[in-house]
Amino acid sequence: MLSLRQCLRRQCRSHVPTHRRRHAPPTSHRPHSDAAASLEQIERTHSRLLQALERSVRKSDPSQTDIAAAKQLKSAKPVHDAWDRYQRTKNALLETIPLLQDPEMADLAASESADLITDLDHQLTHVFPAILRPPSETAHLSALIELKSGVGGSEASLFLAEMLRMYTRVAHQNAWTPTILASNDSDNGGIKDAILEVKGNGAYDALRWESGVHRVQRVPATEASGRVHTSTVAAVVLPLSDDPPSDGKDDDLFKLDDVRIEVMRARGAGGQHVNKTESAVRLTHMPTGITVSMQDERSQHQNRRRAFQVLRARLMDQKIIREQAERRATRKNLVRTADRSEKIRTYNYPQDRITDHRLGKGNMAWNDIMEGDGLMEFVQSLQDKHNVEVLEDRFADLEC
């Protein structure tokens, strides 16, 4: 079968008189103006995106020949390619639109114009944003999830234990490696606080959306009256780099001299005179006052490594927040930093509903999140939302 473009070329060659169009039977659904309207519509919807892309194409104009420009050209190639492809697709559509009124070709033209519109839409919603969005600088980082039970006492501790299981499961599902670095059990079988390491590419970028206050509403097992209680668990997700733990040398994040290393308990005479496990350590980073205590391992060496890991993660987190704040100060940055005291999610057991307050819609059922893979859907939606914000930022950048 001939493609429409081939038909078109033949048509040109055979000088089909244009008046034939006038004799075309009027189509009831007027595909001609429909297709034109669709094009107009998607270009209007994405007008800022189109402008932004056009601007970056112009900015990296290959007419300059110096080395800097050549370098820029290299990185600008995807922008140019995308722009060319868009223009080609659009021209094809513009050529197709008149044929919709040609009785011989209307059907073929209709299906091809629909395809072309879908393609244009895809380019605008997926290809362009991905090209314009600056790549994540934290994409390679692993994560540390620090969980602390808040209001609600033992019920909060029970929920914290469930969250820990949830994150452990999610980690396995994503081929990350979860390790509980520290945990303090409560008396009722719950956990008062915990630190979970999640190792693997992309763990931080995905899990950072978990920072904030998680609120659970349900009837505690101990509650005779059947009244629903509200408890909270605070989560802080920290970036973890795979650099060797810095317990022997300086680091780009801190100077070893600034870290006070203390052992926890008194040991009397010590040495051969006593035989007790004394592996707990506490680090204090003096410039920031950050303290980290670790005592979960029998090995002091191991506790020390982990304490340094947590210290690094907290300092890197502060650095990222600081850099975001600086960026926001130097240009009008729209991407907001998460406020960790903010309530981000409610887990309502009696109503079998889990709501993420940052996403307007799309609640999940309890088991979707606590037993299934619903969390990654939340993560994806939050990532999409973030991507839009980042893109807005980029527009603002290109416009000034």
Binding site: R267, G271, V274, N275, Q300
Partner: protein, 290 residues
């Protein structure tokens, strides 16, 4: 006895928080190694005063996990701390000629095995000496466990050999060492409890699951074996003629006396005392002339 009662007893003996942690470590160890005794059996032994390391059969030492087996002395965190510091302080660069290391009173061989583990391949050639056959057997087991070959097995690697020797006879020991020396580094954690200490043992060691000969020093002041070490290093062929680094662990009141002994022994540029993380004077370190 039910588990809860045992756990409560342990808490009464060593404190609630340490007991909770030990219980957790027992569970973890048993989960990782089903050949270990079941939890109630472990707890019963622990409540009876047996050290945790013997029950679990393992003791961490820096990045290493060593085997622990009665009655060989369980490495202490103070020793771990100074041995790590020594490893960093003396660390050779890759490709440097091998240093000969002599570890006297080696016990589990924790000190030389740590140096072997932390130094670049081929830079550590260690000899571990003890008078107790049980210690020598454990030292050899730990060498295998940490993949440290003997010199005969692989001269290109960091190596450890064990040698039976009695420090009470420095002359004979020096002769036996001749085939392995002279040494660039000497380390030792000799038994140092004094006669007075022996009369008031801390509850954590009083049940004497550990070999008394690994704890109780010679002479009333517990410094007898340091005197023998001072004699040994003065004998020709023991320390390298160009000088050696010597690190001796001491009891919390003994640093000054041992520093004087080392200072009198010729050949050190300076003699330092390093404190442990709990603030006690713990190691006397004689540094070679640069």
């Amino acid at each position: 006895m039910p588990l809860a009662r045992l756990a409560a007893r342990l808490a009464a003996a060593i404190g609630a928080q340490p007991a909770r942690q030990e219980l957790k470590w027992m569970k973890q160890a048993r989960a990782a190694d089903p050949t270990l005794p079941a939890l109630p059996a472990m707890l019963t032994r622990r409540v009876a005063g047996e050290p945790l390391a013997y029950i679990l059969g393992a003791q961490p030492f820096g990045p290493l996990t060593l085997r622990a087996r009665a009655p060989v002395l369980i490495p202490r965190p103070e020793t771990e701390d100074w041995a790590l510091r020594l490893a960093h302080t003396l660390a050779p660069s890759p490709g440097m000629p091998a240093r000969r290391i002599l570890d006297l009173c080696t016990g589990s061989a924790c000190i030389p095995l740590l140096l072997c583990a932390l130094w670049p391949p081929g830079t550590a050639r260690a000899l571990a000496v003890d008078v107790a056959p049980a210690a020598l057997a454990l030292a050899a087991d730990n060498a295998r466990l940490t993949h440290t070959p003997t010199l005969a097995e692989n001269p290109a690697a960091n190596t450890l050999d064990v040698l039976h020797g009695d420090l009470r006879h420095p002359g004979a020991l020096a002769r036996a060492l001749r085939a392995h020396g002279p040494f660039d580094v000497l380390t030792a954690n000799p038994p140092y409890l004094s006669k007075a200490d022996w009369a008031h043992l801390d509850p954590s060691i009083a049940a004497l699951h550990e070999d008394p000969a690994a704890l109780r020093g010679d002479d009333d002041d517990g410094l007898g074996l340091y005197r023998r070490i001072a004699e040994l290093v003065a004998l020709p062929g023991v320390l390298a003629p160009g000088g050696a680094d010597v690190a001796l662990e001491v009891g919390w009141t003994q640093a000054a006396a041992v520093r004087d002994m080392l200072a009198r022994a010729a050949g050190f540029a300076r003699v330092e005392v390093w404190a442990d993380p709990w603030g006690r004077e713990r190691v006397v370190v004689g540094r070679r002339r640069a």
